[in-house]
Amino acid sequence: MKRFSWNGLTARYPALFALTLLVLALGINFLLQPNLFARDTLNSNMRVFLPLVILAAGQAVVILGGGIDISVGGIVSIVNTILATRVGLEGSPAAMWQYVGISLLVGILAGALNGFFVAYLRLQPIITTYATSFLYAGLALFILPNPGGGIPTTASELYRSSVPLGLPLAFYVIAIILFVWGYIRSTRYGNFLFSVGGKAQAAYETAVPVTTIQFSTYVISGLMAAFSGIAITMLSGSGNAEIGSAMTLNSITAVVIGGTALSGGIGGVAGPMLGAITLGFLQNIISFADIDTWWETLAKASIIVAALATPGLINLIRRRRA
């Protein structure tokens, strides 16, 4: 029988580590909050986690392609402010859906702008998307200088309390994303994506359209950020230009916890989505564990660092023994 190899396993199933963490987090959370798996608790948790889960999926695609997108939070904010100002609390459902469509277009456009600078002008992804994040966050603040506005309650209720067939809406959204990703992974585009992220030069020499692939990852990330913005707007029911700013770094953390390497070409999208859910449950655990408020930030950050360090530690110990 082949010897158990942690490296081999995680290479084949990049989401494995994320899954382990998630089960661990779920277990601890269940001990602290026994009704965790009741339908309403599950729904109220998942609907809060969903925006970050969607965002992490988009971020994962960019990172797989060898880039990074710091502007996603800005796009989330733009979408949120557009919906909150243009639809309004008294808006009709028709207007709501119209602006949902426009939001998606805005997301694609913002992503295309990132992609243009990174892929066609060959600028460094971190600094480019950092610069555009200022553009987008500024635009969001321009649209809605002070928190306010809103969307019709029917729309937010649809998001908050639909439980088709007894399962929270978030599960269906996650299932759809996973299904689409599974399909993309099996296409030629999927192979191209991994090869560009792995080594762009080698991919170019084997006739992979590197520039187009890189461009497309930013468009996908922009689109997912728009979906995430729509979700968070339906969750909160109101507008705030700063709503997305904290989400950018969380989405990157989720990707890394999810076993997708920041160097590109290694990992997948399922892991980062699990990573985002894990981060959500972690927040839950900390709020339920009766930790002194002053200690919350330190506790959360230490757990994240420990989670990030674990795979490295395992490898280090194994190498010492070998």
């Binding site: 460094q124 950092y130 553009l135 500024g138 321009f142 506790a299 994240i304 660092v305 490295g312």
Partner: protein
């Protein structure tokens, strides 16, 4: 015909000078009064010192390559500012020890970043991001709502006030010039600097040429932490008060200053002069936009667009086809 080229640090500096001269045309600016113009220029330079010093560590880490970046710089600045503030407590004789303490605290945090990055193989972006969370957590606990302390009079006199009644140059600028020369010596005239560029260009060849890459990496992150610590020490000497969010606003500008100064974010190429010029340009732009009474939204958009423009001019990476 020789193609006209201009080095990024010169370009950033020239742009800063042109912008400053143009700003004289603004209705509420210095107009034709040379004395006020000089006073304003001095003031902007003084403000740029803090960003410049914090960007020094960032420059080292970025030059070291391997996606090197230090996202913990902002929170380290806050931590050492608070440590200095509390420890000194108004006593002049404790200032020197406080300076050493700031450097040591910063170096320790940077060293831990280095350990995570070199031994546990966590990517610098995520490791320093996680560390930033941990340090912020420590700051929150230390701060506990309020800290009691006081800046020593000698710090204010040396850092914030002019060096003498006849020479209206604030001490901070003198400190910065000496600091800049030391940084230049470190990068260009020591074996540390030579090895730093070597590992930034190519880790494998550096290792094969006998450079201790692991040691260099640890040293660089520790040094970057110490320099951020020094930034915190200077900053609190200037502001005289501590806030929980004192350092964070300097984090991304410090990366932007490095990029604007022509240091490649992929490593191996750059200078501290560039970061100094970048810090001056960014500080000038922020203060100009404030003078023009632009709303926060416009300020952010202009900063983002300028950053994008500057990196589009000289931040482009090598084409795949060569």
């Amino acid at each position: 015909m020789k193609r006209f080229t201009i080095s990024p640090p010169m370009a950033a500096l020239l742009l800063a000078i042109v912008l400053f001269l143009l700003s004289g045309l603004l209705p509420n600016s210095y107009g034709s009064d040379v004395n006020i113009a000089i006073a304003q220029a001095t003031n902007i330079l003084r403000l740029a010192v803090f960003l410049g010093v914090i960007a020094a560590g960032q420059t080292l880490v970025v030059i070291s390559g391997f996606e090197g970046i230090d996202l913990s710089a902002g929170s380290v600045v806050t931590l050492t500012a608070i440590v200095t503030y509390v420890y000194v407590n108004g006593a002049d004789e404790k200032v020197f020890v406080a300076l050493l303490l700031s450097l040591a605290v910063g170096a320790l945090i940077g060293f831990m970043n280095g350990i995570g990055i070199t031994f546990l193989k966590i990517s610098p972006f995520v490791m320093t991001l996680g560390m930033s969370g941990v340090v912020t957590g420590i700051v929150i606990i230390l701060n506990h709502g309020n800290v009691s302390g006081k800046v020593a009079p000698i710090m204010t006199r040396v850092i914030a006030r002019p060096i003498s009644a006849d020479i209206p140059i604030p001490g901070a600028i003198v400190i910065w010039i000496i600091f800049g020369i030391l940084m230049w010596l470190l990068l260009e005239r020591t074996s540390y600097g030579k090895y730093l560029f070597a590992i930034g260009v190519n880790r494998v060849t550096a290792k094969l040429s006998g450079v201790n890459v692991t040691g260099m990496n640890l040293l660089t992150y520790a040094l970057a932490g110490a320099l951020a610590g020094f930034g915190g020490f200077l900053l609190v000497g200037n502001t005289g008060v501590v806030l929980i969010s004192l350092g964070q606003p300097y984090l991304f500008p410090s990366i932007a200053a490095v990029a604007v100064g022509g240091t490649l974010l992929s490593g191996g190429k750059g200078s501290y002069w560039g970061s100094m010029a970048g810090a001056i340009l960014l500080t000038l732009m922020t203060s100009l936009l404030t003078t023009m009474q632009m709303p926060e939204a416009v300020r952010r958009m202009v900063l983002g667009a300028t950053l994008l423009l500057l990196i589009s001019i000289y931040g482009r990476q090598r084409a795949l086809r060569q």
